[in-house]
Symmetry: C2
Subunit: 304 residues, 2 copies
């Protein structure tokens, strides 16, 4: 299996504490790094996790609250000091460029690489990025300001060749790629070897959904149906359900309800309020509804 | 002696590392807190030092490079979440308000307290703040962008009363303040008791000078003459003297030359380049010229 993991840089909510950093995580797909959100001090957490700054080319910002984006200018500046020349793409809603471009123009005049803001509409479920192996699309969420989550989907993978059958039929190297893509093989004497004899099925493409910050919002369920891992806003526990509603965040109970309804494989809780000295109360509440639930924690890595 | 100390929140240079945070420190004068510079993640260091956010009313920004001010929006936002209502004063050059006001207007719409930017001219040595016990003035520095250091001077203090003499002459409580301010005491039968019999001299007012970022710049010497503590830019060692000149920073040697020429009592080196795995080489170079030198370090407190 190729690497597909999520590194948690910060999973606290608005008020950073000595325990929790502000929202940021990195999706690592086959050593290409995709950042989601970039709260203050994200660059420090990135460094603490020993991630490679040069492998980061795309940053996705869910919404324009400071705890999800105040780390951008510092990170962008640091990438310049490290000698970056490759484009950096910041995917966010249109106001992001309005707010951050003037700062970059003033503070990062000599930046040796271009920063490209790519605007998306947080109200739409739309494809906003794709490359050879990955599609990223927006998940409209329900929060105090326009907010989108992100769905990271691997593209369908190629079948695995069966080495011993390739050897047996003496399939030449030049035809291996065609076989991986599904072609039958024709031997020099005209015999057709069905593709199914030469390969075993591809690994299922994996999916990761990031849904923070949001109220309980059933409209996301069909979009995140069956994902391997769901990170869902869990700012509060049941005792703070009223406050969750007021601030348009979710409780552990609500996160678990969404996970169950969407048949996700695993749920990770995050965006914790500073009021919880530990989050086991949130974990217990969620597991009562959706057992395969874990707590996010800084500097840890979740494998899909 | 009343409390006068400097808390080091960050003493690294532009590139934050796992060892050094970005520039910020807090002058604590009798439990009133004055912040100097506010690099990214300053609010985390402030919290880590268990300083009281409510005692902070003034922030002084030396210059508009990101490593000295990118922590402002996050800190200002956090103070709001903590329920602050008192004014916060940010003393900086005029561009600071141009850059940060739009961010505050967008990201901190519901801030429950006013942020007041007070502009100063970094080219002038001028008084920019005073209260009952303290004067703060600018120290023009020489850097790639307009930059000022800051001189924190206690105001002259009042004499100490000699408790046993006060009792002996039966000085009434109502006259104690006058005696502290230098008045003689006249007994009920007309005898004049000279102030010098009733008091011992006041403690000398103390002075702290912050000079970062700057090239070697002799014009600051008369301004910082005789200060109790000097924090001076020491980004590089002698082997990087050329780079120091190019980037308009100082070497340890140069910092020590300034300290010696200005007859300061103690020198603290800071704003270290990330290239030094430890800064003992800088300390050794400085102490060869000015022995009473120490290295700054995060989360430590320097008493005047």
């Amino acid at each position: 299996m190729e690497r597909f993991e999520v590194d948690i840089l910060g999973c606290g909510s608005a008020l950073p504490t000595t325990k929790h950093s502000l929202s940021s995580q990195v999706v690592n797909l086959r050593d290409k790094l995709f950042m989601i959100d970039c709260g203050e001090a994200t660059q420090l957490q990135f460094r603490a996790m020993k991630l490679n700054f040069m492998r980061l080319n795309h940053i996705f910002i869910s919404h324009l609250h400071g705890d999800h984006c105040f780390g951008l200018p510092g990170l962008i500046s640091t990438l310049g000091l490290l000698g970056r020349t490759a484009e950096l793409h910041v995917h966010a809603q249109p106001d992001a460029e309005k707010m951050f471009r003037p700062m970059l123009d003033y503070f990062c005049k000599e930046l040796p690489y271009p920063v490209i803001f790519q605007a998306f509409d947080p109200k739409k479920n739309a494809l906003i990025f794709e490359d050879r192996t990955l599609c990223v699309s927006t998940i409209p969420l329900k929060h105090r300001v326009p907010t989108a989550g992100f769905l990271f989907e691997e593209k369908p993978k190629r079948a695995h060749i069966l080495r011993e059958m390739i050897d047996f039929y003496q399939v030449p190297f030049s035809q291996i790629n065609a076989v991986k893509d599904g072609a039958d093989f024709v031997t020099p004497d005209g015999q057709i070897v069905a593709n199914a004899r030469l390969t075993r099925p591809a690994d299922a493409p994996q999916k990761y959904a990031y849904c923070s910050d949001t109220s309980y919002y059933e409209k996301i369920i069909p979009i995140i149906e069956g994902v391997d891992l769901l990170y869902h806003d869990t700012t509060f526990g049941e005792s703070e359900a009223v406050r969750a509603k007021q601030t348009m965040h979710s409780t552990a109970h609500q996160a678990a309800e969404i996970a169950r309804a969407a048949n996700v494989k695993k749920l990770v809780l995050g965006h914790f309020s500073a009021r919880y000295p530990n989050e086991n109360v949130l974990l217990t509440e969620a597991q009562a509804i959706f057992p395969n639930t874990v707590l996010a924690a800084e500097l840890t890595c979740l494998k899909l």
